[in-house]
Structure formats: C-alpha cells, structure tokens
C-alpha cells in the first residue's frame, strides 16, 4: 500500500565501490521516502555517503567501480511505480527521466557547466531534448527561466559564457537549467557550500520560492545542519553510510535522540552561546575499515558492550522519528515492555 502523494521510495539501498583496498560500502542499507512537494535534507560529515546517495537517485553512481549492490529506488511517475534501480543507467528510459522529471544541481557550478557553450545553449539543449522545443521557443524559455531565477538582463546574459558569470550567478544558471523542464524531484548536492553567506541566503530563498511555484520535491544534501534547518521539512542524518536518525526538522533540533546528532548539534558554534563547544573525539571511520557493531561506537560517549558487537536496529521514537541506536532501546523500549 502506498500513500497517494508518494514520489520516491528508497528501500534498503546499498552502493558499493570496488577499490584497491577492497570493497567499500558508501551507502549501507538506506531507506527513506519522499512525498511530492516535500523538502528532505540529508546531513552528515565528509565520507558519510550523502553525495553517493544523491548520485544514486539519478543513477549517476560512477561506473565501473561503483554500483548499486542491493535495494531499490522507486519513483512514482504520475502514480505509476518505476523502479529506477532496474533501469539501465545510460538507457533511453533513464535518460528520459533524468534532467526532465528528475534534475540535479551540484556544489561547484563552474565544473558542472560546460565552459565552451553559452549559458543559453546549455539550457536550450535540455529543452530541445526533453520538451522537443525548436530553437526559437527554447531560447525564449531559457530567457524566461533566467529571469525567474533572478539573473539581471537575462536576454543579454543568455549569450554569455560561464566564466562571465559570478559564483552566485552560475548557481542561478544551474538552477534555471535544472528547473527548465519543471521536474518533480530536484536533487541538490551542497548547492550553497561554495557561496558566500549573503549569496547563500539568496539561493536558499530562491529555491524555496520556486519549489512553492511548481510543487517540486527537493532532496537537499549538506554538511551544514543550520542550512538544512532553514530549508528542510524532514531531516535524515547519515553516518558512515547509515541513516542514524530521521525526523521532522523540529524533532531533530529540539529532541535529537542519536548521540551523533546530539554531538553534531553541540559542536556547531552558535551566536551568543558562550559555553565550550562539545567536540566529537576521533574522526569519521574509513569506509574500508569499518568497526564491527555500531560504526559510531568508537566515538560515542554512551557506547556499551552491545554497541561494539552488534549493528543497532532502527527504533521508532514516535510517528516519523526513527533512530538507529541501542541506547534508545535500553532507555525507552525496555522500560515499557
């Protein structure tokens, strides 16, 4: 049984990379879902698998070293379930979805734009391909999109090359390109990380505005909990390839359950707060040398013997709030049973 509003379902997804050090699990049994028009934030430190997760959504995991080893991603195309993970990544069906119904924006807009084509040509290419527009209409639409994302003098700047755009403007152009086919799902991988704080504020506001206009779902990936908190309805916290906690935004910030989420929140400097920062000892484990049991146990202030031995189960705190931690079970579940 599925919800009528359901857009994406990720079930027990595992993405592996074969490296010289052996097989590494970048994404390790991740499950979550997204509804139409919803913003879901994925947060975690470097190496937690959040970027690979975002690539997997569009079947963009780099081959041949990386592959989806297990699990599925289901995309509901006008109510009809399409199993993305069954599609050939370079096949016709996948290409018809990618850039059309599902779009992506990346962290560094300079490396994701082609330096030898004008901004206009790059947006028009998408429209010709997916919307079968002719050149005149595509150009018209490209200018319209650039205006929508706040590029001044769009009719003139559509003829310019990426190097003539500033960082913030390039990100706007990327967003214009991604949204030109009014996608149902936008995957945004650290879209504001390379930008200055005043420009970041502009882009976040713009994304929220466009999202309301076209009722698009956004999967927003960031290392910055505070940015996630500004934009996401629901937050997924990842650590070493696992989802360790998932909850509505308010619950993550007001009532975090996983020791990692709590530490992350305590490690961020906050204006006006004078106490010493809580730092997490050690560092994110290498994905090729994961500890047995809970991956966070070596850094966890509350780790018990069980944490070192057994992978934690996922427990439900309340409706929509889950945590993958034995401590929660000890504290809450045992008490009531």
């Amino acid at each position: 049984m599925t919800e009528p509003n359901r857009l994406v379902e990720v079930n027990d997804l595992e993405v592996v990379f074969d490296t010289v050090e052996g097989r590494t699990h970048a994404v390790n049994g991740v499950s979550f879902s997204m509804d139409a028009g919803e913003t879901v934030g994925i947060v975690g430190e470097s190496g937690c698998g959040k970027s690979v997760m975002s690539l997997a959504m569009l079947q963009l995991v780099p081959r041949p070293h990386g592959k989806i080893a297990r699990g599925s991603i289901i995309y509901y195309q006008r109510g009809k379930a399409v199993e993305i993970t069954k599609l050939n990544p370079t096949g016709k069906a996948m290409r018809a979805l990618r850039g059309n119904e599902m779009a992506m924006i990346f962290q560094e807009p300079m490396t994701s734009l082609n330096p030898v084509y004008t901004i206009g040509e790059q947006i028009m290419e998408v429209l010709r391909l997916h919307q079968k527009m002719d050149n005149t209409r595509a150009k018209h639409r490209a200018i319209e999109m650039l205006e929508k994302v706040g590029v001044p003098d769009a009719a003139q700047r559509v003829e310019e090359y990426p190097h003539q755009f500033s960082g913030g403007m390039r990100q706007r152009a990327m967003i214009a390109m991604a949204l030109s086919c009014t996608p149902n799902l936008l995957v945004a991988d650290e879209p504001t990380t390379a930008l200055d704080v005043t420009i970041e504020a502009q882009i976040l506001e713009l994304l929220a505005e466009l999202q309301r206009d076209i009722n698009m779902a956004v999967l927003f990936i960031s290392h910055d909990l505070k940015v996630i908190g500004e934009i996401a309805d629901r937050v997924i916290v990842m650590y070493a390839g696992w989802v360790v906690e998932e909850a509505m935004r308010e619950d993550i910030f007001q009532n975090p359950q996983h020791p990692y989420t709590r530490s992350l929140l305590a490690a961020i400097p906050r204006i006006g707060r004078r106490e010493r920062l809580v730092s997490i000892p050690g560092r994110v484990p290498s994905l090729s040398q994961l500890p047995p049991g809970c991956f966070f146990a070596p850094r966890c202030p509350a780790a018990t013997d069980q944490c070192w031995r057994e992978e934690p189960q996922v427990f439900t705190v309340n409706q929509g709030h889950t945590v993958k931690c034995w401590n929660y079970w000890d504290k809450e579940v045992q008490k009531t049973s």
Binding site: V197, T198, P269, R270, G272, R283
Partner: protein
Amino acid sequence: MSTETLMRVSNLKKYFPIRKGVLRRVAGHVKAVDDVSFQIRQGETLGMVGESGCGKSTTGRSIIRLIEPTAGSVKYRTAGQEEDIIHFNKAQMKAFRQRVQMVFQDPFSSLDPRMSVRDTVSEPLFVHRMGTQKERTEQVKELLQTVGLSVTHLNRFPHQFSGGQRQRIGIARALALRPELIICDEAVSALDVSVQAQILNLLQDLQSEFGLTYMFIAHDLSVIDYISDRIVVMYLGKIVEVATKQQLYDNPSHPYTEALLGAIPIGEKRVGEGKRLLLGGTVPSPANPPPGCTFHTRCPYAADICRQKEPALESVGNSDDHQAACHFTTELELKSFYDFAEVDRSGA
C-alpha cells in the same frame, strides 16, 4: 586581557597590478586592501570577517610581509618600543618572524608531503638555529603532545593523517618558536563540524596556556563569534565596522554588517520580522570599485551622498571600541542578530 596594543596597522594598502596586452602594460589595479587601519591588542583574539574577495586574507598576509604591502605602516611593539616592520631589513624580518606565525586554511597544501612530522615541526627551529638536533626532536615531541597528537606520529608523513590532525601539525609548527601572535587564515574552514570544534577548543586552550594573541580570519560569522573578542568587518578592501563581539551582534552600525547577520543560517523556521534580510546583487569587482561608499550598490539605505562621498571609519557613540564607516550610522536603526533569529517555537 590588557588593552595594550601589540600591532598597529595604519593606512595599509595592497594593490595588485592588472597587466594587459603584449607589452604587459599595467592597465589598472585590483585594490585588494585599500587604506585599512586597525590594532591588535596584547592577548586578544581579533576576528576578521568578510565575503570572498574582500581582502581579509591579503590583509593577514600583508601585515607580516608575506605579501609586500603597497603602502602603509605596520608597527609592532617589542620590549615596549613600537617599530615599523615595513622598514625592517632581512635579518630584522627573520627575528620578527619568530614572534609572529601563521596557520593556513588548507591542511593539505600547507604541509610538504615529503617531510615527516618531525621535519615539518622542527624546521622553524632549524631555520632559527635553535638547539641541537636531539634537543629539537625533544621539543617536537613536546609540541605534538601540546596539540593533542601522539609521539608515535613523529616519523609519519602528512598523507597518513586526517584533515583535523594535519591542522594540528600546522599549529604545532606555528607554536615551535613560541610566538606572541598567530594569524589563523580560515584555519577551520576546511574541516568537518565535529573536527572544527576540536580545533577551535585547542586554539582557545593554547591561548590561555601560552598567553597568545590571535588574529582569526574567517568567513563564518558563527565561528568568528565563538572565538573573537573584537571583530573587524571588511567589504571590498575596506573596513566597514570594528566592534567588540557584543556590540557587533547586538548593535551593528553598518548596513553590511546587518546584512551579514541577517544571512546567517540559524537552523530554524523564522517568524514575522525575523525573516531574513536579503541583499541584492553581488560584490562588485575590486578592480573597478564603485565611487563613494563601495557598498552603495547593494545597500538598501543608500542615498545620494553614498554615491558621491566615501564615508570615513568613525567612532560610534562615545565608544572608542566601536567604529563604522557609514554616513548614516547615527540615523539608521539596524537590526541585531537576535532580531533576525526570532524563531517559531510553536512547532507550526
């Protein structure tokens, strides 16, 4: 914290020439730092904040002549005497560099990949002819423990360390000569949040242990707030506001500071008046800065005078600690950070 001035920077300028054509003629200048004056006080942490291209890193490098400034003076107090380091000769500069050290942003490119930790950390000691080789190794061991690394790391190479550990090596190297002032240029920007907290705490511990003075350059206003006593805000090569931490966040006196405070992500839903203030446009090119107040192109309060006359950095109220460069400092009622951070606690 005393109020004694350790370093007095006056009218510092750094112009980079733009060369064009076959003859590489100078076609103009990028005014990376344009007439900047400030003081660093003994024992304080002076934060310097601004967006990319505002000249904060160039300022940090110019005041210790890693980049030769175009004009201005940098007076450093040694044994009660102020001396202008701009006129120092090579030998004097070398002696000066024992007192002032630097920690860089990127712990990957600021360490030589072919030098072991022992060599990296002892190099400043070697350059300044301090102790025998044996004594130097002993000192390196001590330094490693001070920054939270293990003595067993002595013979390892940079690639065997994580980003946070590398930054600790960089800090150990900066501490080796027992400096008075350390300039941290985006020292925690490349690190993950949990590791960033470790390094910020370490820097604070070292400051109280060794009585260090810091100049801390960063773009993140939350980090700046955490570590600084006083803050300098830069925009397009100029200082727009200088204030104590409290004054800056509670009572900003320059519209650009207000905009920065309004743009800080707070991780919560904002309500009503708390909604973020958005600046239009982007930072103009420092090669061709706008006339008058350089911020007028983006300033929501700009008037005619702002387009014509450049405002001077002047005291706000009666406080010597608080200065701003705006024609309307006294007239404007700018919002504090806390006005922007008003959040919805109802859960709706």
